[in-house]
Symmetry: C2
Subunit: 412 residues, 2 copies
């Protein structure tokens, strides 16, 4: 790791107790993908009957593992997951495809399943061929050590420059049977010369058919992972997978709209939102978590675009880093979003303090009060367009010199 950064000041105070999830076992190993003597591979085994859903990067140049997962997702069943660090297997062309195929073959043999039931995710250096022959023997040995606990182990194994492991969990009942949801994520991390990559894996012992699971995940991701931005840069490797083992004994459900899933749906959304917020809290160099609330837009879609324009604005993010309630830059970011907006109807608040109203500075606001508010770790920025009922919320972090140092200094 290029930087041994201190733990983010925005890290949760405690790591939650997570798992076990019936039907999920795992173990980590050293395969020597890039460095010797370092844990660099996570093997997860899933019980027979596990269904799977996935959401991936929208990049037009996705990594080989992303292409592999997309291809096999139509089958809808999963028995294994292999996650490695040290090599992203991205921009590796034909060799990349050969590496994914060989990894799946070795893992399938170790787990006793089909190759198209093995999901893959990689993070690390890009453009270098991944030598999957290094998994030979290693995964077989690892499979013998598979265990249902402790979940902190895989959460740590997938970290790169994350400064804390990211875990979230919830328990709900489906027709009286308790089911568990547990997930882990890694955020924007860096191994020279790598790129930021978001990976998240969520597991449940509920029994939900793959199409319903996909519907739940696709909906759940909108207001969680898709509502988080660190720097507007989309990785070639972003991967979010949801596995349902069915091992809880809860009744099998095949329709995402089944009313028996109401609580599960809320709990899943909660776990995804929790993990996504942890990713924002661990943004590179982040010192402040910024929650951007847009209301009064002409639609939710328009509110999302305006919120993202604000969240990705370097001028807004550096102002927050400087503890400056610079609403002029917020106006700028609203204006450049290209969405319906009328200056004379715009209101802007930092926390409870309205600083601008109806297209002009709010004469009643107290500069000392808003300056004191900006010293908080978590900043709520609210923009009301005054046009309609469209509302949305996204999360980001501030842009600090440390971000530039992490991403620009490591070769100097």
């Amino acid at each position: 790791m290029a930087h041994a950064s201190p733990v983010s000041p925005l890290a949760p105070k405690t790591t939650p107790e997570v798992g076990p999830v019936a039907g999920v076992r795992f173990a980590t190993a050293e395969a020597g993908i890039r460095y010797k003597g370092r844990t660099d591979v996570l093997l997860l085994a899933l019980d027979k009957g596990t269904s799977v859903a996935g959401v991936f990067t929208k990049s037009k140049c996705p990594s080989a593992p992303v292409e592999w997962c997309r291809d096999i997702l139509a089958k809808g069943s999963a028995r294994g997951l292999v996650v490695n660090s040290g090599n992203a297997n991205a921009f590796t062309g034909r060799k990349g495809r050969e590496a994914t195929a060989l990894t799946a073959k070795i893992a399938a043999k170790a787990l006793g399943c089909r190759e198209d039931e093995v999901y893959l995710a990689s993070t690390g250096v890009i453009g270098e061929p991944l030598d999957a022959t290094k998994y030979e023997g290693v995964l077989e040995e690892t499979a013998k050590r598979l265990a249902p606990l402790p979940w902190i182990d895989p959460a740590k194994a997938i970290m790169t420059t994350d400064t804390f492991p990211k875990l979230a969990t919830a328990k709900v009942k489906i027709e009286g049977v308790e089911v568990t949801i547990a997930g882990m994520a890694k955020g924007a991390g860096m191994i020279a010369p790598d790129m930021a990559t978001m990976l998240s894996f969520v597991f449940t012992d509920a029994a939900i058919d793959a199409p319903a699971l996909q519907a739940l995940l696709s909906k759940g991701v909108t207001d969680s992972f898709n509502a988080v931005t660190i720097d507007g840069d989309t990785s070639t490797s972003d991967t979010l997978l949801l596995f349902a083992t069915g091992a809880s004994g809860a009744p099998r459900i095949s329709d995402a709209k089944d009313p028996r899933l109401a609580r599960f749906r809320r709990a899943l959304t909660g776990v995804l939102a929790d993990l996504a917020e942890q990713v924002a809290r661990d943004g590179e160099g982040a010192r402040k978590l910024v929650r951007i609330h847009v209301t009064g837009a002409t639609s939710k879609r328009s509110a999302r675009r305006i919120a993202m324009s604000i969240a990705n604005s370097p001028l807004v993010k550096t102002a927050v880093a400087g503890e400056d309630a610079n609403w002029g830059r917020v106006v700028m970011a609203v204006g450049k979003a290209g969405e319906p907006a009328e200056r004379d109807r715009l209101s802007i608040s930092f926390g409870p303090i309205r600083v601008a109203h109806e297209g002009t500075r709010d004469p009643s606001y107290d500069e000392a009060e808003v300056s004191a508010y900006m010293k908080n770790d978590v900043i709520d920025l609210t923009v009301d367009l005054g046009l309609g009922r469209g509302a949305d919320r996204v999360m980001t972090c501030d842009l600090t010199k440390e971000y530039v140092a992490i991403n620009g200094d490591y070769r100097s």
Copy 2:
């Protein structure tokens, strides 16, 4: 000014000798818009018969002066230009409109012209009402000092945190009559709590009717100012105006496609490109100028979008700051642009060194050679998509800790 930064290391070695342009006179004054004892207003007078064209910010929340200029542009004739610093007159609602009207009224009286012949541009703090009564007497006095030289004065007067004045000029003949083009620009500047603003004013003594002038400017801006990005943040005040006084005695031309304008068109494009490059060279905290060339795209429009995605990527820009030929991040930025791209056809070069080819690392490139190249002040980054004939070029600068300091530190 919050920061007295040293002159950008990318500044041109010499300031060009510019002007006079027949029919253009100017003077600067202290109006006390925000601070006392400081030059803060530029008054320009244009001879009778001057035609005008303009291009403005696409922001949905433009400043009051931008709205004023847009409104009067249809008339097509100009006699004056008033530029002030200290107050951007943006996000000032009804009061902002009253201030522009009063400024035009006072300037029109001082210059002896109609109010709708007076163009306005403002830069400085936003959200504070601009007290235009401060111009009373001042503009009248200033009008008595109007002179055709020296052009360095107005170029300096419009600077905010620009570290050098930006001037460019060219001379061409139209039917044997020499005409001059001369322009000035200010770049991404900052007066706390202001925002970046690009202003540029270009003048010629050629005689060109307003519709033709507008066509020339709209075309010329595409590959100059619109091809430059510092941080992807669009100001509420961006203003580019082109005035043609006709005072050279060259024949009046009413059609932008008139073959007699061929040389003029090229010269104008050159002046705009020169000024735009100077803006990029003076980007906040910039240590390197980055020229991004995209070839082989499916269209020029697609090439532009891909180039802008690379130019606005914080991860690419921090890598350049760190003198790291991180082509993995370039792949990422190509991938996130959402435009047609195929990993297996992609080639990437830094300067003359091809680092990636056909979707994988170019095995022949020498890491030491590319590291040496990255130490240059000007970096040429070429991406070939291998799909079609669409090509484009944009310019940006690197993202340094100094950018964060300029925009984030001034309140601390």
